[in-house]
Protein backbone atom coordinates (compact mmCIF):
# COMPACT_ATOMS: atom_id res chain seq x y z
CA UNK A 1 0.00 0.00 0.00
CA UNK A 2 1.39 3.41 -0.90
CA UNK A 3 1.63 6.37 1.48
CA UNK A 4 -0.92 8.26 -0.64
CA UNK A 5 -3.53 5.49 -0.28
CA UNK A 6 -2.90 5.17 3.44
CA UNK A 7 -3.21 8.91 4.04
CA UNK A 8 -6.59 8.85 2.28
CA UNK A 9 -7.64 6.12 4.71
CA UNK A 10 -6.21 7.65 7.88
CA UNK A 11 -9.41 9.54 8.72
CA UNK A 12 -11.51 6.36 8.36
CA UNK A 13 -8.95 4.37 10.35
CA UNK A 14 -9.18 6.86 13.21
CA UNK A 15 -12.98 6.47 13.14
CA UNK A 16 -12.70 2.66 13.03
CA UNK A 17 -14.53 2.98 9.74
CA UNK A 18 -12.34 0.63 7.70
CA UNK A 19 -12.54 -3.10 8.21
CA UNK A 20 -11.02 -6.34 7.02
CA UNK A 21 -7.90 -6.65 4.89
CA UNK A 22 -7.77 -2.98 3.94
CA UNK A 23 -7.47 -1.98 7.58
CA UNK A 24 -4.80 -4.62 8.29
CA UNK A 25 -2.73 -3.52 5.31
CA UNK A 26 -3.04 0.17 6.21
CA UNK A 27 -2.05 -0.45 9.85
CA UNK A 28 0.90 -2.56 8.74
CA UNK A 29 2.06 0.28 6.49
CA UNK A 30 1.63 2.85 9.29
CA UNK A 31 3.83 0.73 11.59
CA UNK A 32 6.57 0.67 9.01
CA UNK A 33 6.31 4.27 7.68
CA UNK A 34 7.39 7.08 9.98
CA UNK A 35 5.56 9.86 8.06
CA UNK A 36 2.24 8.00 7.87
CA UNK A 37 2.59 6.96 11.50
CA UNK A 38 3.08 10.61 12.54
CA UNK A 39 0.05 11.65 10.50
CA UNK A 40 -2.08 8.89 11.98
CA UNK A 41 -1.03 9.82 15.50
CA UNK A 42 -1.62 13.54 15.02
CA UNK A 43 -5.05 12.82 13.51
CA UNK A 44 -5.99 10.49 16.39
CA UNK A 45 -4.74 13.02 18.93
CA UNK A 46 -6.68 15.83 17.31
CA UNK A 47 -9.84 13.73 17.29
CA UNK A 48 -9.35 12.91 20.96
CA UNK A 49 -8.90 16.61 21.72
CA UNK A 50 -12.08 17.47 19.84
CA UNK A 51 -14.01 14.81 21.74
CA UNK A 52 -12.64 16.05 25.04
CA UNK A 53 -13.72 19.62 24.43
CA UNK A 54 -16.00 20.76 27.19
CA UNK A 55 -19.68 20.93 26.43
CA UNK A 56 -20.77 24.54 26.44
CA UNK A 57 -23.17 25.12 29.30
CA UNK A 58 -26.60 26.19 28.23
CA UNK A 59 -27.73 29.55 29.67
CA UNK A 60 -30.59 29.25 32.17
CA UNK A 61 -32.47 32.01 30.33
CA UNK A 62 -32.43 29.96 27.14
CA UNK A 63 -33.83 26.94 29.01
CA UNK A 64 -36.68 29.10 30.32
CA UNK A 65 -37.34 30.51 26.84
CA UNK A 66 -37.48 27.03 25.35
CA UNK A 67 -39.91 25.92 28.04
CA UNK A 68 -42.11 28.92 27.27
CA UNK A 69 -42.00 28.10 23.54
CA UNK A 70 -42.96 24.51 24.33
CA UNK A 71 -45.84 25.58 26.57
CA UNK A 72 -47.21 27.97 23.96
CA UNK A 73 -47.06 25.30 21.28
CA UNK A 74 -48.69 22.72 23.55
CA UNK A 75 -51.59 25.07 24.33
CA UNK A 76 -52.00 25.85 20.62
CA UNK A 77 -51.95 22.16 19.76
CA UNK A 78 -54.44 21.21 22.46
CA UNK A 79 -56.74 24.01 21.34
CA UNK A 80 -56.82 22.54 17.85
CA UNK A 81 -57.79 19.05 19.02
CA UNK A 82 -61.52 19.75 19.57
CA UNK A 83 -64.02 22.52 20.09
CA UNK A 84 -64.68 21.35 23.65
CA UNK A 85 -61.00 21.49 24.48
CA UNK A 86 -60.78 24.92 22.90
CA UNK A 87 -63.67 26.14 25.08
CA UNK A 88 -62.05 24.54 28.11
CA UNK A 89 -58.82 26.28 27.22
CA UNK A 90 -60.54 29.65 26.87
CA UNK A 91 -62.21 29.12 30.23
CA UNK A 92 -58.89 28.35 31.88
CA UNK A 93 -57.27 31.40 30.25
CA UNK A 94 -60.19 33.53 31.46
CA UNK A 95 -59.87 32.06 34.95
CA UNK A 96 -56.16 32.83 34.99
CA UNK A 97 -56.83 36.42 33.88
CA UNK A 98 -59.55 36.79 36.52
CA UNK A 99 -57.29 35.37 39.20
CA UNK A 100 -54.48 37.68 38.18
CA UNK A 101 -56.86 40.63 38.19
CA UNK A 102 -58.59 39.75 41.48
CA UNK A 103 -55.61 38.60 43.50
CA UNK A 104 -54.43 42.11 44.46
CA UNK A 105 -57.90 43.16 45.62
CA UNK A 106 -59.00 39.83 47.12
CA UNK A 107 -57.84 40.55 50.67
CA UNK A 108 -59.29 44.10 50.92
CA UNK A 109 -62.59 42.93 49.39
CA UNK A 110 -62.85 39.95 51.74
CA UNK A 111 -62.05 42.21 54.69
CA UNK A 112 -64.70 44.71 53.59
CA UNK A 113 -67.37 42.02 53.17
CA UNK A 114 -66.63 40.46 56.57
CA UNK A 115 -66.69 43.88 58.27
CA UNK A 116 -70.01 44.72 56.57
CA UNK A 117 -71.53 41.40 57.66
CA UNK A 118 -70.40 41.94 61.26
CA UNK A 119 -71.62 45.54 61.33
CA UNK A 120 -75.04 44.86 59.81
CA UNK A 121 -75.30 41.70 61.90
CA UNK A 122 -75.11 43.88 65.01
CA UNK A 123 -77.83 46.21 63.66
CA UNK A 124 -80.33 43.53 62.61
CA UNK A 125 -81.88 43.03 66.11
CA UNK A 126 -82.64 46.79 66.27
CA UNK A 127 -84.08 46.87 62.75
CA UNK A 128 -86.42 43.90 63.29
CA UNK A 129 -87.69 44.85 66.83
CA UNK A 130 -91.47 45.39 66.93
CA UNK A 131 -92.54 48.68 68.63
CA UNK A 132 -94.42 48.28 71.87
CA UNK A 133 -97.91 49.73 71.84
CA UNK A 134 -99.78 51.17 74.84
CA UNK A 135 -103.53 51.28 75.09
CA UNK A 136 -103.81 55.04 75.85
CA UNK A 137 -101.50 56.18 73.06
CA UNK A 138 -102.53 58.85 70.67
CA UNK A 139 -102.23 57.42 67.15
CA UNK A 140 -98.83 58.26 65.67
CA UNK A 141 -99.83 59.29 62.08
CA UNK A 142 -100.07 63.02 61.35
CA UNK A 143 -103.57 62.81 59.78
CA UNK A 144 -106.27 60.13 60.21
CA UNK A 145 -109.57 59.86 58.37
CA UNK A 146 -112.97 59.59 60.03
CA UNK A 147 -114.21 56.03 60.48
CA UNK A 148 -117.51 54.45 61.32
CA UNK A 149 -117.37 53.30 64.94
CA UNK A 150 -120.93 52.05 65.36
CA UNK A 151 -123.63 51.80 62.72
CA UNK A 152 -127.35 52.09 63.12
CA UNK A 153 -128.85 48.84 64.48
CA UNK A 154 -131.64 49.15 61.89
CA UNK A 155 -130.24 47.82 58.65
CA UNK A 156 -130.51 49.96 55.58
CA UNK A 157 -131.38 47.95 52.48
CA UNK A 158 -130.93 50.59 49.77
CA UNK A 159 -128.21 50.89 47.19
CA UNK A 160 -126.57 54.24 47.82
CA UNK A 161 -123.27 56.15 47.92
CA UNK A 162 -123.17 59.11 50.27
CA UNK A 163 -120.51 61.74 50.93
CA UNK A 164 -120.46 62.67 54.62
CA UNK A 165 -118.86 65.53 56.53
CA UNK A 166 -117.94 64.46 60.07
CA UNK A 167 -117.24 67.14 62.71
CA UNK A 168 -114.58 67.01 65.47
CA UNK A 169 -117.10 65.29 67.83
CA UNK A 170 -117.83 62.49 65.40
CA UNK A 171 -121.27 63.77 64.39
CA UNK A 172 -122.44 63.98 60.80
CA UNK A 173 -122.53 67.69 59.98
CA UNK A 174 -123.71 67.35 56.41
CA UNK A 175 -124.22 64.72 53.72
CA UNK A 176 -124.63 64.50 49.97
CA UNK A 177 -126.06 61.56 48.03
CA UNK A 178 -123.76 60.86 45.14
CA UNK A 179 -125.51 57.79 43.85
CA UNK A 180 -128.95 56.35 44.66
CA UNK A 181 -132.11 57.78 46.25
CA UNK A 182 -132.23 60.07 49.28
CA UNK A 183 -134.88 58.84 51.67
CA UNK A 184 -136.17 59.02 55.27
CA UNK A 185 -134.72 55.63 55.92
CA UNK A 186 -131.28 56.82 54.78
CA UNK A 187 -131.45 59.96 56.92
CA UNK A 188 -132.38 57.88 60.03
CA UNK A 189 -129.56 55.52 59.29
CA UNK A 190 -127.07 58.43 59.09
CA UNK A 191 -128.50 60.15 62.15
CA UNK A 192 -128.08 57.19 64.46
CA UNK A 193 -124.58 56.17 63.26
CA UNK A 194 -121.57 57.02 65.45
CA UNK A 195 -118.27 58.10 63.88
CA UNK A 196 -114.72 58.46 65.08
CA UNK A 197 -113.61 61.92 63.95
CA UNK A 198 -110.62 62.61 61.74
CA UNK A 199 -107.44 63.71 63.57
CA UNK A 200 -104.63 66.11 62.76
CA UNK A 201 -101.47 65.74 64.84
CA UNK A 202 -103.49 63.71 67.33
CA UNK A 203 -106.28 66.27 67.67
CA UNK A 204 -109.87 65.59 66.42
CA UNK A 205 -110.89 67.67 63.42
CA UNK A 206 -113.40 67.79 60.57
CA UNK A 207 -113.19 65.22 57.85
CA UNK A 208 -114.95 63.67 54.86
CA UNK A 209 -116.02 60.07 54.35
CA UNK A 210 -117.71 58.13 51.55
CA UNK A 211 -120.28 55.58 52.62
CA UNK A 212 -121.59 52.93 50.28
CA UNK A 213 -123.83 49.92 50.81
CA UNK A 214 -123.62 50.29 54.51
CA UNK A 215 -119.84 50.45 54.67
CA UNK A 216 -117.75 53.65 54.55
CA UNK A 217 -115.08 54.33 51.96
CA UNK A 218 -112.34 56.27 53.69
CA UNK A 219 -111.25 59.49 52.07
CA UNK A 220 -108.78 62.11 53.09
CA UNK A 221 -110.04 64.24 56.00
Amino acid sequence: MSCENVQELISSLVDQGTSGGERQNALAHIESCRECSAQYESMAKMRASLREMARPAMPARLRADLRAIADRDRIRRIARVSFGTRIHNWVSVFQIHCQNMMRPVALPVAGGIISAILLFGMWIPDLTATPRSFSGDVSAPIFTDPSLSRSNPVRYGGDVVVKLIIDERGKVADYEVIQGQDSEELRNFILFSTWTPATSFGKPTWGKALWSHGEAIQVKG
Binding site: G17, M43, M46, R51, M53, L62, R63, L66, R77, V81
Partner: protein, 221 residues
Protein backbone atom coordinates in the same frame (compact mmCIF):
# COMPACT_ATOMS: atom_id res chain seq x y z
CA UNK B 1 -19.64 -15.60 12.82
CA UNK B 2 -22.18 -16.27 15.53
CA UNK B 3 -20.95 -13.20 17.35
CA UNK B 4 -21.35 -10.98 14.30
CA UNK B 5 -24.90 -12.25 13.78
CA UNK B 6 -25.64 -11.46 17.41
CA UNK B 7 -24.11 -8.01 17.00
CA UNK B 8 -26.20 -7.34 13.92
CA UNK B 9 -29.38 -8.45 15.61
CA UNK B 10 -28.62 -6.33 18.68
CA UNK B 11 -27.96 -3.32 16.40
CA UNK B 12 -31.28 -3.88 14.66
CA UNK B 13 -33.05 -4.21 18.01
CA UNK B 14 -31.50 -0.92 19.15
CA UNK B 15 -32.52 0.81 15.91
CA UNK B 16 -36.07 -0.54 16.21
CA UNK B 17 -36.23 0.61 19.81
CA UNK B 18 -35.01 4.11 18.89
CA UNK B 19 -37.55 4.22 16.06
CA UNK B 20 -40.42 3.14 18.30
CA UNK B 21 -39.30 5.61 20.98
CA UNK B 22 -39.28 8.39 18.39
CA UNK B 23 -42.71 7.43 17.08
CA UNK B 24 -44.14 7.29 20.60
CA UNK B 25 -42.66 10.69 21.40
CA UNK B 26 -43.87 12.23 18.13
CA UNK B 27 -47.37 10.83 18.65
CA UNK B 28 -47.48 12.22 22.19
CA UNK B 29 -46.27 15.60 20.91
CA UNK B 30 -49.01 15.66 18.30
CA UNK B 31 -51.55 15.06 21.09
CA UNK B 32 -50.04 17.90 23.10
CA UNK B 33 -48.87 15.78 26.06
CA UNK B 34 -46.89 17.87 28.54
CA UNK B 35 -44.47 15.05 29.36
CA UNK B 36 -43.62 14.63 25.67
CA UNK B 37 -42.57 18.27 25.42
CA UNK B 38 -40.47 17.88 28.54
CA UNK B 39 -38.88 14.71 27.19
CA UNK B 40 -38.06 16.33 23.86
CA UNK B 41 -36.41 19.30 25.55
CA UNK B 42 -34.52 17.10 28.01
CA UNK B 43 -33.20 14.91 25.20
CA UNK B 44 -32.31 17.53 22.66
CA UNK B 45 -31.90 21.03 24.07
CA UNK B 46 -28.33 20.56 25.30
CA UNK B 47 -27.00 18.66 22.22
CA UNK B 48 -28.67 21.12 19.86
CA UNK B 49 -27.18 24.05 21.75
CA UNK B 50 -23.72 22.41 21.75
CA UNK B 51 -23.94 21.77 18.01
CA UNK B 52 -25.11 25.31 17.24
CA UNK B 53 -22.43 26.74 19.50
CA UNK B 54 -19.67 24.73 17.80
CA UNK B 55 -20.91 25.69 14.36
CA UNK B 56 -21.20 29.41 15.14
CA UNK B 57 -18.77 29.90 18.04
CA UNK B 58 -21.07 32.53 19.54
CA UNK B 59 -23.26 31.91 22.53
CA UNK B 60 -26.00 34.43 21.77
CA UNK B 61 -26.18 33.40 18.10
CA UNK B 62 -26.35 29.78 19.19
CA UNK B 63 -29.17 30.64 21.60
CA UNK B 64 -31.18 32.30 18.83
CA UNK B 65 -30.60 29.32 16.56
CA UNK B 66 -31.73 26.87 19.26
CA UNK B 67 -34.97 28.80 19.75
CA UNK B 68 -35.57 28.87 16.02
CA UNK B 69 -34.85 25.13 15.79
CA UNK B 70 -37.34 24.20 18.49
CA UNK B 71 -39.98 26.53 17.02
CA UNK B 72 -39.59 24.69 13.72
CA UNK B 73 -39.58 21.29 15.41
CA UNK B 74 -42.82 22.01 17.27
CA UNK B 75 -44.43 23.59 14.22
CA UNK B 76 -43.51 20.75 11.88
CA UNK B 77 -43.73 17.74 14.16
CA UNK B 78 -47.03 16.91 12.48
CA UNK B 79 -45.25 16.42 9.17
CA UNK B 80 -42.46 14.24 10.60
CA UNK B 81 -42.74 10.97 8.67
CA UNK B 82 -40.07 8.95 10.50
CA UNK B 83 -38.04 8.52 7.31
CA UNK B 84 -35.05 9.45 9.45
CA UNK B 85 -34.61 9.34 13.20
CA UNK B 86 -35.83 12.24 15.27
CA UNK B 87 -32.23 13.01 16.19
CA UNK B 88 -31.01 13.37 12.62
CA UNK B 89 -34.14 15.35 11.69
CA UNK B 90 -33.55 17.85 14.52
CA UNK B 91 -29.82 18.04 13.79
CA UNK B 92 -30.57 18.71 10.12
CA UNK B 93 -32.80 21.63 11.13
CA UNK B 94 -30.02 22.86 13.44
CA UNK B 95 -27.36 22.72 10.73
CA UNK B 96 -29.64 24.56 8.29
CA UNK B 97 -30.53 27.21 10.85
CA UNK B 98 -26.87 27.69 11.77
CA UNK B 99 -26.09 28.04 8.08
CA UNK B 100 -28.82 30.71 7.74
CA UNK B 101 -27.59 32.51 10.84
CA UNK B 102 -24.03 32.56 9.51
CA UNK B 103 -25.20 33.98 6.19
CA UNK B 104 -27.25 36.63 8.00
CA UNK B 105 -24.27 37.42 10.19
CA UNK B 106 -22.01 37.96 7.23
CA UNK B 107 -24.60 40.15 5.51
CA UNK B 108 -25.53 42.36 8.44
CA UNK B 109 -23.00 42.27 11.20
CA UNK B 110 -19.73 42.15 9.36
CA UNK B 111 -19.60 45.91 9.26
CA UNK B 112 -20.24 46.32 12.95
CA UNK B 113 -17.26 47.47 14.98
CA UNK B 114 -16.52 45.28 17.94
CA UNK B 115 -15.71 47.44 20.96
CA UNK B 116 -14.18 44.72 23.07
CA UNK B 117 -11.57 42.99 20.96
CA UNK B 118 -9.40 41.60 23.70
CA UNK B 119 -9.40 37.84 23.03
CA UNK B 120 -8.83 37.08 26.70
CA UNK B 121 -12.03 38.93 27.57
CA UNK B 122 -14.19 37.62 24.76
CA UNK B 123 -13.26 33.97 25.03
CA UNK B 124 -16.10 31.49 25.44
CA UNK B 125 -14.54 29.10 27.88
CA UNK B 126 -15.95 30.71 30.99
CA UNK B 127 -18.70 28.15 31.15
CA UNK B 128 -16.52 25.08 30.65
CA UNK B 129 -16.47 22.76 33.61
CA UNK B 130 -12.93 22.34 34.89
CA UNK B 131 -11.61 18.96 35.98
CA UNK B 132 -10.41 19.57 39.54
CA UNK B 133 -8.43 16.37 39.71
CA UNK B 134 -5.85 17.73 37.27
CA UNK B 135 -2.99 20.02 38.01
CA UNK B 136 -3.35 23.73 37.19
CA UNK B 137 -0.60 23.37 34.58
CA UNK B 138 -2.49 20.57 32.82
CA UNK B 139 -5.72 22.51 33.02
CA UNK B 140 -4.09 25.59 31.57
CA UNK B 141 -2.49 23.53 28.80
CA UNK B 142 -5.80 21.83 27.99
CA UNK B 143 -7.63 25.12 28.00
CA UNK B 144 -5.07 26.64 25.70
CA UNK B 145 -5.23 23.66 23.40
CA UNK B 146 -9.03 23.78 23.28
CA UNK B 147 -8.91 27.48 22.57
CA UNK B 148 -6.56 26.84 19.70
CA UNK B 149 -8.78 24.09 18.33
CA UNK B 150 -11.82 26.30 18.61
CA UNK B 151 -10.08 29.14 16.84
CA UNK B 152 -8.87 26.76 14.14
CA UNK B 153 -12.38 25.32 13.76
CA UNK B 154 -13.69 28.80 13.16
CA UNK B 155 -11.17 29.42 10.40
CA UNK B 156 -11.82 26.30 8.32
CA UNK B 157 -14.42 26.09 5.56
CA UNK B 158 -17.92 25.87 7.14
CA UNK B 159 -18.79 22.89 4.93
CA UNK B 160 -15.87 20.91 6.36
CA UNK B 161 -16.48 22.27 9.86
CA UNK B 162 -20.04 20.92 9.85
CA UNK B 163 -18.81 17.45 8.99
CA UNK B 164 -16.02 17.48 11.58
CA UNK B 165 -18.24 18.85 14.34
CA UNK B 166 -20.98 16.32 13.62
CA UNK B 167 -18.49 13.46 13.65
CA UNK B 168 -16.02 14.37 16.38
CA UNK B 169 -18.04 16.53 18.77
CA UNK B 170 -21.64 15.45 18.25
CA UNK B 171 -20.47 11.86 17.71
CA UNK B 172 -22.78 10.95 14.84
CA UNK B 173 -22.06 7.99 12.56
CA UNK B 174 -21.16 8.52 8.90
CA UNK B 175 -24.65 7.43 7.88
CA UNK B 176 -26.30 9.85 10.29
CA UNK B 177 -24.09 12.70 9.07
CA UNK B 178 -25.07 11.86 5.48
CA UNK B 179 -28.75 12.12 6.52
CA UNK B 180 -28.23 15.36 8.40
CA UNK B 181 -26.30 17.06 5.61
CA UNK B 182 -28.31 15.44 2.83
CA UNK B 183 -25.23 14.18 1.00
CA UNK B 184 -23.81 10.79 0.07
CA UNK B 185 -21.67 8.66 2.37
CA UNK B 186 -18.63 9.21 0.14
CA UNK B 187 -19.06 12.98 0.37
CA UNK B 188 -19.28 12.72 4.16
CA UNK B 189 -16.02 10.75 4.32
CA UNK B 190 -14.33 13.19 2.01
CA UNK B 191 -15.55 16.25 3.95
CA UNK B 192 -14.43 14.77 7.26
CA UNK B 193 -11.00 13.97 5.83
CA UNK B 194 -10.60 17.42 4.27
CA UNK B 195 -11.93 19.09 7.41
CA UNK B 196 -9.51 17.25 9.67
CA UNK B 197 -6.60 18.01 7.36
CA UNK B 198 -7.57 21.67 7.24
CA UNK B 199 -7.90 21.73 11.02
CA UNK B 200 -4.51 20.10 11.44
CA UNK B 201 -2.94 22.61 9.05
CA UNK B 202 -4.57 25.50 10.89
CA UNK B 203 -3.35 24.19 14.22
CA UNK B 204 0.16 23.69 12.86
CA UNK B 205 0.05 27.23 11.44
CA UNK B 206 -1.13 28.75 14.71
CA UNK B 207 1.60 26.96 16.68
CA UNK B 208 4.23 28.27 14.27
CA UNK B 209 2.76 31.79 14.42
CA UNK B 210 2.88 31.94 18.21
CA UNK B 211 5.63 34.25 19.46
CA UNK B 212 8.29 32.25 21.25
CA UNK B 213 9.74 33.42 24.55
CA UNK B 214 12.83 35.47 23.94
CA UNK B 215 15.52 36.22 26.44
CA UNK B 216 16.90 39.65 25.78
CA UNK B 217 20.19 40.24 27.54
CA UNK B 218 20.27 43.57 29.25
CA UNK B 219 23.06 45.23 31.08
CA UNK B 220 22.24 46.07 34.64
CA UNK B 221 22.24 49.76 35.20
Amino acid sequence: MATSILDLSSDRTTEASVESDDLRLVEALREGAERAYEELLTRFQQPVFALAFRLLNDQSEAGDVVQEVFLKVFRNIGSFRAQSTLKTWIYRITVNEAHNARRWFFRHRRREVELDTDPEETRNWKESIPDRSRSPYEEAADREQHQMIEAALERINPIFREAVVLRDITDLSYEEIAEVLGVSLGTVKSRILRGREALRDELAGSIKARPALKLVPKTAE
